[in-house]
């Protein structure tokens, strides 16, 4: 039996009695209709701003695959013509607002398949590009092996002479990739090449990793900016990757109107997987790159909200007894 002395009486606290003070919102018309209206209007405003901004961003895209509808570089399609250089001419009728970014684009290219990056388990394994005749490949793996190796040079045609537009290849990769995540092996006797002793270049590469950028010895090894950009595998099969920025000299404020020639060292084969290559000039705005989607999405959502609040108002007016006081 229970001891009479101790009481079983439960505590009378708000928690025990499930009586905690609580906010109990009800989705009533009084809140929802003005709420929707406000959100809708705000979204429409943002949407217009985004849309207009996006429209102001210039994009110049040129496919240079050389097959199909692309007329550029068709002379280089045959894989036997190596090395092959082709030219792509274009003219700007107005100033291309700077800073201008130069991208290369690949489509139908699945950088995201499992097993392409170092995603195959055990993840330390770089198979099938770990060893080349029993010598370690550096850098190993499929991603590194398939690094994009077309090169671009941009000339402005001034009075029928070609004037090189300086392309800035610094700082195109993630800061953290360059400074923290990737590391070169310690130099031996001040030579990077010696540090890579005992390794061989990836099978598809024409030159070893310590020799990627002959113009700038600091831009070699695993810290080569193009290499870092390539190593960040794209999420979707159609992707652009940043190649260079145009930030120097008289082109810092953009590309002035005029005729230009882009000289392309055509190396990278895409025909065997029906891929396409393109080169893109673009600039950015406060909201990022050109992006019609965001503006449209905001506009659609915003107008939906406004329309719905109107519909709700009608429904409430119609299906409500008049003495209702929401």
């Amino acid at each position: 039996m229970k001891n009479q002395g101790t009481t079983n009486r439960p505590d009378n606290t708000a928690f025990d009695q499930q009586r905690l003070p609580a906010w109990q919102p009800v989705l009533s018309a009084g809140i929802v209709i003005p709420g929707f209206l406000l959100v809708g209007l705000a979204f429409i405003g943002i949407g217009v701003a985004l849309f207009v901004t996006s429209r102001s961003i210039q994009v110049l895209e040129n496919d240079y695959t050389g097959t199909g509808s692309s007329v550029h570089c068709s002379e280089c399609v045959n894989p036997k013509t190596t090395p092959c250089t082709c030219q792509l001419n274009f003219s700007l009728s107005a100033l291309f607002q700077g800073p201008v970014f130069l991208y290369y684009g690949l489509s139908n290219y699945f950088q995201n398949v499992r097993g392409y990056g170092s995603l195959r388990r055990p993840s330390s394994s770089c198979a099938p590009y770990q060893y080349d005749q029993n010598t370690t490949i550096a850098p190993c793996g499929s991603v590194a092996n398939s690094m994009f190796n077309d090169t671009f040079t941009l000339y402005q045609l001034v009075n029928a002479t070609r004037k090189t537009v300086p392309l800035d290849g610094k700082g195109i990769a993630w800061w953290t990739d360059y400074n923290i995540k990737f590391r070169n092996p310690p130099e031996v006797d001040g030579s990077l090449a010696a540090a890579f002793n005992g390794t061989v270049k990836p099978v598809n590469w024409p030159k070893p990793v310590y020799d990627l950028d002959p113009t700038n010895p600091a831009n070699n090894g695993f810290l080569n900016q193009d290499f870092l950009v390539w190593m960040r595998t794209a999420a979707l099969p159609d992707f652009w990757k940043l190649y260079r920025r145009i930030t120097e000299g008289e082109y810092a404020s953009g590309l002035p109107a005029g005729n230009y020639t882009l000289e392309i060292q055509y190396n990278y084969p895409v025909a065997n997987f029906a891929g396409r290559k393109s080169v893109i000039f673009s600039n950015t705005s406060w909201m990022g790159g050109k992006n019609q989607f965001l503006g449209i999405a905001y506009l659609v959502t915003g107008s939906l909200c406004v329309v719905m609040s109107a519909v709700m108002l009608i429904v409430y007016a119609k299906f409500n007894s008049p003495d209702e006081d929401f």
Binding site: K2, R9, P10, D11, D16, Q17, Q18, L20, P21, A22, W23, Q24, S28, A29, V32, I57, F101, Y109, F110, Q111, N112, V113, G115, S118, R121, P122, S123, P128, S142, S146, I172, T176, D177, I180, K181, V229, R232, T233, A234, A235, L236, W240, L242, R245, T284, S285, W286, M287, G288, N291, F293, Y298, L304, C305, M308, M312, V315, F319, S321, D323
Partner: protein, 1156 residues
């Protein structure tokens, strides 16, 4: 353990003989070839685990669960083959789930261990080498002589050896075993009864042979062999010699007994029912949903595998130059590859099965059930009992009850007989303040004059105080302190024990009126009439039996006159009465019965000495007759109990419990059908049924009683069915008795159920315990499979309580049997209303949303992963990082739903209680119907499409995200696949959390904390996770991804627009439904919402006076007005739930008011 014991006992006969031989005090015979039998020790083990077997046994139990086993398989698959995610992703959540469950089960088992230890460690006195030794209960061995003192419980099944009485008798109550509260007399065999001290017992050379343990409480066969002076005396032993563990010694100072069955072999332990697992309707639908999701999973995996191979048929996708296959991949066989691909997809999508669902549900139930025990409204002040939860698995089932089957005595009534009225010599009396007051006179008129009784009155009172078989227990120590209503008596320590509560009530009543029965001394019955002691010599007792329906005592009065007092049902006494005011008494008896009182008629007969000699002779002959003893006894009784002088009649009230009527009314309004099942006779049952509002006066009462044969019963049933069909306007009530019920069930089960279901109220009387269970089973298995709830307080209700979906025990006077076997125990019937209408409602809504939400959030989680396969050549590339995969269910989205499922209140408790009709909103498992489930699942898919394609379009369009650009303070942006996945994940976590926020109606600070905290935690965690190069990870894929992601302006814009556009349709849907097709639940939310008063926990809050009251009135009027249009639009409803709910506000709000 128990099962093991049983197997050992029941299914292992070859090793054991049919009997066990117990040497008292373990004096084994000296001759050599005796092999001691092995017996179990006296430990009671109700716990499931020990420290040693906890881990393996618990793991085994847990993996017997389909879901856990499934995840184990997935985990093993991940270990064995090359799958896209690391084994950690499913191993860690599994480990988490298993650990949490193990902790919970371990805690519960620890509680059981504690309880066991308390029982097993209780001090007992054992005779060892001639003296009393104190030891622990668990160390009692078979053969030990145990001493038990007064009011102690027996620690093992003992054969009584001796008591402090010379006769060797003792009194016990077995309330905790079978619920019978009367005193039972047990006795010892004369040879051992003389051994009243420890030293004498030590010298006893005796042995007990008895059957092996069995569960039947009332069967015991054995014999006792005592060696006295080189001579062996054999005595038979029966149940009257056996003291069962759990019973309590009463009225006797001490006894000695020898332990014959110990520990798990005692009859009490063998009667422990291993509680069958009851599973709630919610759990069943949960399993259905799981299977559907398993189907979706298999479908997605198969589809992906097929598509993968279709895609790879084209070589340009199979092996582009940039992604050559490894040697291993090239060489493995096609079939193996196919299988391993399928398994890999299975692993990839496996999170669609919500792994933490079970553990969350379990936590929710476990933690949530505390609220029932904590509820002050379920606390009964007088008995100091709060509600008790024995199974937390059924909380939500309380919200689904369709049938309540209730016992009558002790459940609807107090089981506390109160003398109310009597009729003496044709005059009706009432008891007022312990005095008999004739009808028409008030207490004031009587004045303060000393009580004076007329001779008729005195004789009547004496008759009542002498004609019974009540026993008395004198409590010197007052150790129990039970508050039996004898406080105003002369001796506060005197307690009456009676097998019939009516007798007890009568004796107590006469005591209050001045005629006190003080006990039986020797052969005399003693009463004190206003302090004057009178001794009546007890000559004979003519016991009660069901055929005669009366009992008598033959006494010799102090004056020497020999008297017969008879008491019994009016039908068995009035025909034999020859004098007294028979007609008037008859009228009064009918009047009493109409009031619902239990009636008894009292008569007497005086014998001359010649007559008495004749009577004595006949009785003696009959009692000693060897043949046809029963018939001859009946004959003799008939000879004696005639020519009676009618003294009067008594009316005893079995008081209805408080607010039974309101409770039953509320249950009816909630759409619950109430059936009363009682062992009582029809008239009493019907009158109680009427007085508690189960039957109304306006109801058409149909009867199916006293059917003799199958055909008769069928005819009657057909007749009843026709009447119901013809007359369906009026409500019907049905009365069935046990015999007719079994007839009806034998032949016409369907017809019977049909009749029952069309009746608003059903009353089954004269029911045996097993019949009660049968009725429950019948209801349960009928085609609609309604959810049943059984309420009862006595041992006779146990079978019904165990059979029903939910069993409720009432903590009554009839022992703890029902409470122990119930799922929930409450102190009073009236608490049922709150338990069902408030707790049941809340728990159901909580768990239903919990289940739906879990499936929803996992669809949201995995579908983007599935969609991503279309963009990565079905290469099983994961969209999310492993850590996110792992933590999604156990960290980022687990707490808000848990807190929601603990605290959500769609409607405030007081509204739920005052408007029982709200209960109908959730009936038939409506929140977990296929439709709502599909709704949630489709919404999950929809949201997932939004997440994925929103992010896809963003990435696809945005030049700066596709490549990288220099925006906003020279940040370099380039979105790799991990950035993309993280973006989708971020949107998902926010949306899924906000979706729950939309569902939440009751925002306590905890909801705020976990909701916003979860989102904040996700961000903080991601910064942290991406901010460090983790040394133990192979890949540093996520390094800085999150920071880079959030540094893009367009990402923020995208997150906002995707989240909002996911939620907007949902809000629109909710608003329109709420406005156009509101449920009554939502309407009652409006009442609250309008009020804006946060303290409206009960009507008590409006104590300030009329202003608020009129305000409540206005609010109600407004809501009534508001309901009008909706009623029109919902005219398809046959029974309008709104009117009754209105009335219920009126009827029950007064209840609320009086409550505080």
């Amino acid at each position: 353990m128990l099962r093991w014991m049983r197997e050992q006992l029941g299914f292992d006969p070859p090793h054991q003989s049919d009997t066990r031989t117990v040497y008292i005090a373990n004096h084994f015979p000296q001759h050599g070839h005796y092999v001691p039998q092995r017996f179990a020790d006296n430990r009671i083990i109700s716990s499931k685990y020990t420290v040693w077997n906890f881990v393996p046994k618990n793991l085994f139990e847990q993996f017997r669960r389909i879901a856990n086993f499934y995840f184990l398989i997935i985990f093993l698959v991940q270990l064995m083959i090359d799958t896209p995610t690391s084994p950690v992703t499913s191993g860690l959540p599994l480990f988490f789930v298993i650990t949490v469950t193990a902790i919970k089960q371990g805690y519960e088992d620890w509680l059981r261990h504690k309880a066991d230890n308390e029982v097993n460690g209780a001090p007992v006195f054992v005779v060892r080498s001639g003296s009393l030794v104190q030891t622990r209960s668990k160390s009692i061995r078979v053969g030990d002589i145990v001493r038990v003192a007064k009011d102690e419980t027996f620690p093992a099944d003992l054969v009584l050896l001796s008591s402090d009485r010379i006769s060797g008798t003792c009194h016990i109550t077995t309330a905790s075993l079978d619920g019978e509260t009367n005193l039972k007399t047990h006795c010892a065999v004369p040879e051992t009864a003389v051994c009243q001290t420890a030293s004498k017992l030590e010298g006893l050379q005796a042995m007990v042979e008895c059957q092996q343990p069995e569960a039947d409480l009332y069967r015991f066969v054995g014999r006792l062999t005592v060696k006295q002076n080189e001579e062996e005396i054999v005595r038979p032993l029966g149940p009257e010699n056996l003291l069962l563990r759990g019973a309590r010694l009463k009225n006797t100072r001490e006894i000695f007994g020898v332990a014959v069955y110990t520990g798990m072999e005692t009859k009490m332990a063998l009667n422990y029912k291993s509680k069958s697992q009851k599973r709630s309707a919610v759990e069943k639908s949960m399993n259905t949903f799981l299977i559907i999701y398993l189907g979706i999973l298999l479908l997605e995996a198969t589809l992906s595998t097929i598509l993968k191979y279709a895609w790879q048929a084209n070589s340009q996708w199979d092996e582009p130059f940039y992604n050559r296959k490894t040697e291993q991949e090239k060489n493995s066989s096609q079939i193996l590859k196919f299988i391993s691909d399928f398994l890999a997809f299975l692993v990839l999508y496996n999170f669609i099965i919500p792994i933490s669902l079970y553990v969350t549900v379990e936590m929710q139930k476990f933690l949530g059930s505390f609220f029932i025990g904590w509820d002050l409204d379920l606390y009964h002040e007088e008995s100091n009992e709060k509600a008790q939860v024995n199974t937390s698995d059924l909380n939500e089932e309380l919200g689904q009850v369709e049938y309540v089957l209730t016992d009558k005595t002790g459940t609807l009534t107090e089981n506390e007989m109160q003398f109310r009225e009597c009729s003496i010599n044709g005059i009706k009396y009432q008891e007022i303040n312990g005095r008999l007051v004739p009808e028409g006179m008030t207490d004031d008129l009587l004045g303060e004059s000393s009580p004076h009784l007329s001779s008729e009155e005195e004789l009547f009172l004496k008759a009542v105080s002498l004609c019974h078989t009540v026993q008395i227990s004198y409590d010197q120590t007052d150790g129990l302190g039970k508050s039996f209503p004898q406080a105003n008596g002369s001796s506060p320590h005197m307690e009456y024990y009676a097998s019939s509560p009516d007798e007890k009530a009568l004796v107590e009543a006469t005591k209050r009126m001045g005629v006190t029965f003080t006990g039986i001394k020797g052969e005399n019955m003693e009463i004190k009439t206003f302090g004057r002691l009178e001794k009546y010599k007890l000559l004979h007792v003519l016991e009660f039996d069901a055929n005669r329906r009366r009992m008598s005592v033959l006494l010799q009065a102090p004056s020497g006159v020999k008297l017969l007092f008879t008491k019994g049902a009016e039908s068995s006494i009035l025909p034999y009465a020859i004098s007294g005011s028979i007609e008037k008494t008859k009228l009064h008896v009918d009047e009493f019965a109409m009031k619902g009182l239990r009636t008894l008629v009292v008569a007497c007969r005086r014998f001359s000495s010649e007559e008495y000699e004749e009577v004595d002779r006949r009785l003696h002959e009959a009692r000693t007759a060897l043949q046809h003893r029963d018939e001859r006894l009946a004959e003799a009784f008939d000879f004696i109990e005639r020519d009676l002088e009618l003294l009067g009649a008594t009316g005893v009230e079995d008081k209805l419990q408080e607010k039974v009527q309101e409770t039953i009314e509320a249950l009816c309004l909630a759409g619950i059908k109430v059936w009363v099942l009682t062992g009582d006779k029809q008239e009493t049952a019907v009158s109680v049924s009427l007085s508690c509002g189960h039957f109304h006066r306006t109801m058409n009462i149909l009867e199916l009683v006293q059917q003799k044969s199958d055909s008769e019963c069928t005819d009657q049933l057909r007749k009843l069915a026709r009447r119901i069909r013809e007359d369906h306007v009026i409500q019907h009530g049905l009365v069935v008795d046990g015999v007719s019920l079994s007839l009806a069930l034998r032949g016409q089960e369907k017809l019977f159920m049909e009749v029952c279901k069309s009746c608003t109220a059903v009353l089954c009387c004269r029911m045996a315990p097993l019949q009660k269970a049968k009725v429950v089973r019948l209801l349960k298995t009928s085609p609609e499979k309604p959810i049943t709830l059984a309420v009862g307080d006595g041992a006779n209700d146990v079978s019904m309580i165990q059979e029903a979906h939910v069993g409720i025990g009432i903590m009554g006077k009839e022992g703890r049997q029902a409470v122990g076997n119930s799922d929930y125990a409450i102190a009073r019937f009236k608490f049922l209303a709150k338990l069902l209408l408030v707790h049941g409602h809340c728990y159901y809504i909580r768990i239903a949303t919990l289940v739906q939400y879990f499936f929803y959030k996992n669809v949201c989680f995995i579908t983007p992963q599935f969609l991503y396969q279309f963009f990565c050549l079905f290469s099983q590339q994961t969209l999310y990082d492993s850590v996110y995969l792992t933590l999604y269910n156990i960290c980022f989205t687990s707490l808000p739903i848990l807190v929601y499922s603990l605290f959500e209140q769609l409607v405030q408790p007081h509204v739920l209680q005052s408007k029982p009709a709200l209960y109908r909103d959730i009936s038939k498992n409506s929140l977990l119907s296929m439709k709502t489930f599909l709704c949630w699942t489709l919404m999950g898919f929809g949201h997932a499409f939004f997440f994925f394609f929103g992010c896809y379009l963003l990435m696809h369009e945005d030049t700066s995200l596709m490549g990288n650009g220099q925006i906003l303070k020279a940040n370099r942006l380039m979105f790799g696949n991990w950035t993309f996945g993280t973006l989708v994940f971020t949107v998902m976590v926010i949306t899924v959390t906000l979706k729950l926020a939309l569902e939440t109606h009751f925002w306590t600070w905890m909801n705020h904390f976990v909701t916003w905290g979860s989102i904040a935690f996700y961000f903080i965690f991601s910064f942290f996770y991406g901010g460090i190069l983790w040394p133990f990870l192979h890949t540093q894929d996520m390094y800085c991804v999150f920071v880079e992601l959030l540094s893009s302006g367009s990402v923020w814009f995208a997150i906002i627009v995707i989240v909002i556009s996911c939620l907007v349709p949902d809000i629109i849907k909710k608003v329109f439904y709420r406005h156009l097709w509101p449920t009554s639940t939502q309407m009652s939310q409006l009442i609250e919402g309008d009020s804006g008063v946060s303290c409206v926990d009960s009507m008590c809050c409006f104590s300030e006076g009329e202003r608020q009251h009129s305000w409540v009135g206005q609010a109600m009027e407004r809501t009534l007005g508001r309901w009008d249009p909706t009623r029109i639009s919902r005219s398809w409803r046959t029974s309008d739930p709104f009117y009754p709910s209105d009335r219920s506000i009126l009827t029950l709000s007064s209840m609320e008011a009086s409550h505080c």
